[in-house]
Symmetry: C2
Subunit: 129 residues, 2 copies
DNA sequence: GATGGGGCTTCCCATTGTGGGAAGGTCAAG
DNA sequence: CTTGACCTTCCCACAATGGGAAGCCCCATC
């Protein structure tokens, strides 16, 4: 299976697949002409990567999860800890963004939003501590 | 006022102040020795930038907001539009992250997290569509 | 007047994950 | 044999920030 097929089969772009290989996450064999050749297990790895990235796991976490995935005897506690740490990071960022959205929406509510120049949004951005 | 004082006075790092200058957001005059010299109005601009960045406005938005801020006759609707678009972007990202956190927390709940290798987190990452 | 320390300057590099694009090799169909 | 669709590697870009080197400047202290 060449990289184009692997891309279509995994849902990743060929560009990204090469990148993940450079990062050491996948290692397809090479044909005599230099083309990458993906086995079914490689495809499974690529799909795993796509799912983990869809959950916004940073590549470093994906690397650890792949190592645990390959390790038949790993402790599920190891996986769980990575996942829960990631959940905490996601929730912290999400809350920070919602707090920003909230205060900005509050400012915008007091801006009449017409042709007049008076705008408490700019006033606050100017005067905040 | 040199860049160190401007940094302390604005709450930005000197590094970032130079970066914002390279981006065209602030233009301090130069002394004969080449040092940047910040006027009180420059400091106000820097503080404005810091507040806008604290609300996660991308630099492009900060640029537009600064232009509107400098424009005494601008329409408040223009500012409001930028702010509300940004609120929508923030909320969309926050919701996406919370959705990811939610499904991952759900997976983790079904992982016993002990020394045994059985872990539905990895199983799902492997098998998802 | 020399020396030392701290501040300033510019320039380059790294980060994270993704994409664009050039230059060149390969293969299959016409 | 040409054409087009692949593939290869390598370099560059993004946004926003930080690290660090090399070199100049200023001021205080000896």
């Amino acid at each position: 299976m060449n990289i184009g097929e692997a891309a279509r089969g995994s849902g990743l772009s060929a560009k990204m697949i090469r990148h993940y290989e450079a990062e050491g996450l996948v290692a397809p064999r090479r044909l005599e002409n230099g083309y990458r050749d993906y086995a079914a297990t490689d495809l499974a790895v690529l799909r795993f990567i796509r799912h983990a990235r869809a959950l916004a796991f940073p590549l470093e976490d994906v690397r650890k999860l792949l190592a645990l995935w390959h390790d038949r005897g790993r402790a599920s506690a190891d996986v769980r800890r990575i996942a829960l740490d990631h959940v905490a990071a996601l929730e912290a960022k999400a809350e920070a963004m919602q707090a920003m959205a909230h205060s900005l929406r509050h400012l915008a509510q007091h801006c009449n939003g017409d042709a007049r120049p008076d705008c408490p949004i700019l006033d606050e951005l100017e005067k905040l501590p």
